[in-house]
């Protein structure tokens, strides 16, 4: 076992401290705005810390690590694309400033303002389903990471997953966004230190020259050129270029951080500063993945190689600190995601179906119950589901399930005068079509005729989702301008 008593002490001290602080943050939850958006008082640096902590979790380390392992340096392009996406939003305030100015809590609330209650309900359902499916693989990946780095063995996977879930659900349920913001800050600091330690030890154990030679030997030009790499290519690059802007601005957990900011201007700046770190956040775990390939060779399991590498190269004491950092990263991701999806379920699905406004007390209670239910779902789903593509592509395609339609609805709703309810329905429906088709058809891939095999190409499905969503909004709106005149905000 890699994990020694000193490591355990560091980890237990960190977890206890984090839980204590999260639960203490309860006293700041004075009302619903406090619970969901921290009273909208968050400033730039704190907002950036919480957004970065939300966007990095063990799951991101795992899927980027796997991507580095299976594709070499060519996946580094994703870091550059992500950087461009965040910088566009951060410089222009595209979408995020407009939404923050409307003082909404969830994205489907915008649908109701602009398009009506039916669109809010449909948008809420898609957002919730896509979001929870997207989260479905988080817990298993985290469990694999922890068992591998700590050297606990696969037999402990379920125990690790369950323990982690209990810790995260407890403080999310009790504290709300205040607890998320406070613990996010602490987690941001700890995870940055953890990443620095891991990178330093990886570089000192696996030489850069050796890594370069391995990539060239293993992949040839495909290991350094994303256009020729069969896992990527132009359809993937185009999908990521559009998706990086859409998913960054409209991913409800990230958007919640922008909604919690002090003003629309602060919300925009949060994206700008977060964007500066983005390439590093993507490339550092990818780099660990390439190092794992160099150390263990291509026969190793692509998912387990990177955590195995970290467990092997980081020494006792430092390992405890690094795992605390990684757990920190994950806890902030879970809490933000669970809070975001449960608030969507309560406010945008249950309330419109029941045709009533719940009191603040009932809304918070329902949100807490749904958070617990999401926790149970991801535990079961994680154990049962086999991911159809790389883990990164799975999260991107489930993200596209809601982000594509949301992009069509929100971008057009904010910046195009002719956007109407019919266009919004078409955008949400068509946007979800290709990702849902991919996830369902993948089960019957072997019996599909050759002409339809493009539907189970994850890159084509992802790109199509945005194309169809935008097309649906434009055509749907233009054809029904008289019967459904657009609403002005």
């Amino acid at each position: 076992m890699n994990f020694q008593p000193l490591d355990w002490c560091i980890l237990v001290a960190y977890l206890s401290g984090s839980m204590f602080i999260g639960i203490r943050a309860r006293k700041y939850v004075e009302n619903m705005e406090g619970y969901f958006v921290a009273g909208r008082r968050v400033k730039v640096a704190l907002g950036s810390a919480t957004l970065i902590a939300t966007e990095i979790g063990i799951v991101t380390f795992m899927y980027f690590g796997q991507l580095g392992f299976v594709s070499g340096f060519s996946c580094f392009l994703l870091g550059i694309i992500g950087l461009i996406g965040y910088m566009v939003i951060g410089k222009t305030g595209f979408i995020v400033s407009g939404l923050r100015a409307l003082k909404i809590v969830t994205i489907p609330e915008f649908y109701e303002l602009k398009y009506g209650r039916g669109v809010r309900l449909l948008g809420g359902i898609l957002l919730f389903l896509g979001g929870v499916l997207n989260m479905g693989i988080f817990l298993k990946m985290d469990g694999v990471f922890l068992t591998q780095t700590m050297g606990l063995g696969q037999g402990m996977l379920l125990t690790v997953m369950t323990l982690m879930l209990i810790v995260v659900v407890s403080y999310t349920v009790l504290g709300g966004m205040f607890s998320v913001v406070i613990t996010d800050y602490i987690q941001f600091v700890v995870l940055s230190v953890g990443m620095l330690i891991a990178t330093a030890f990886v570089i000192s154990h696996v030489g850069l020259t050796e890594m370069s030679a391995t990539v060239m030997r293993q992949f040839g030009e495909n290991g350094v050129n994303p256009v020729t790499n069969p896992r990527f290519g132009w359809s993937f690059i185009l999908w990521m270029l559009i998706g990086s802007v859409a998913i960054s601005a409209l991913n409800q957990p990230a958007a919640s951080k922008s909604f919690a900011s002090e003003s629309p201007e602060v919300g925009r700046k949060v994206f700008l500063y977060t964007g500066i770190t983005l390439a590093g956040r993507y490339m550092i775990p990818m780099f660990w993945g390439v190092a794992a390939l160099t150390m263990f060779g291509p026969a190793a399991d692509s998912m387990m190689a990177m955590p195995r590498l970290l467990g092997a190269v980081v020494p006792t004491g430092m390992l405890g600190l690094m795992i605390a950092g990684m757990l920190a990263a994950s806890m902030s991701t879970y809490s933000a995601y669970m809070l975001a999806w449960s608030s969507v379920a309560t406010r945008d699905i249950i309330a419109p179906i029941m045709k009533r406004e719940f009191s603040e007390r009932v809304t918070i209670l329902l949100t807490r119950i749904i958070t617990g239910m999401i926790g149970i779902f991801i535990l079961v789903f994680g154990l049962w589901y086999e991911i159809p593509a790389t883990a990164f592509q799975y999260t991107a395609i489930t993200g596209a399930m809601y982000a594509a339609g949301a992009f069509g609805c929100v971008a057009a709703g904010l910046y195009w005068k002719k956007a109407n309810a019919v266009g919004a329905y078409a955008s949400l429906g068509f946007g979800a079509l290709a990702p849902v088709g991919f996830l369902v058809l993948d089960f019957v891939k072997s019996s599909l005729p050759p002409g339809l095999l493009f539907l189970v190409d994850v890159n084509i499905s992802g790109f199509l989702s945005f194309f169809l969503a935008v097309g649906g909004m434009i055509v749907g709106s233009l054809l029904t301008q008289r019967s459904h005149p657009p609403v002005r905000l």
């Binding site: 004075e30 640096a45 810390a49 970065i52 600091v189 990178t199 060239m216 350094v224 050129n225 390439a279």
Partner: protein, 60 residues
């Protein structure tokens, strides 16, 4: 070393420096923001709590 490989390693080095540099700045300034957030929230809680009843007059 292949020029493409060299390119990606340089890009990686820049990205890592930007990440850790920004993280340092955010850590320092973020701590101040967090302190302000908590003290402002505590202040607003105190001001929104119901006022104390006026003391009864000692005069008849």
């Amino acid at each position: 070393m292949n020029p493409w490989t060299m390119f990606w390693l340089v890009v990686f080095a820049c990205a890592a420096v930007l990440f850790f540099g920004t993280a340092l700045v955010i850590t320092v300034v973020g701590f101040r923001d967090l302190r302000d957030l908590l003290s402002n929230t505590a202040k607003s809680e105190r001001s929104s709590s119901p006022p104390l009843p006026p003391p009864s007059s000692p005069l008849p």
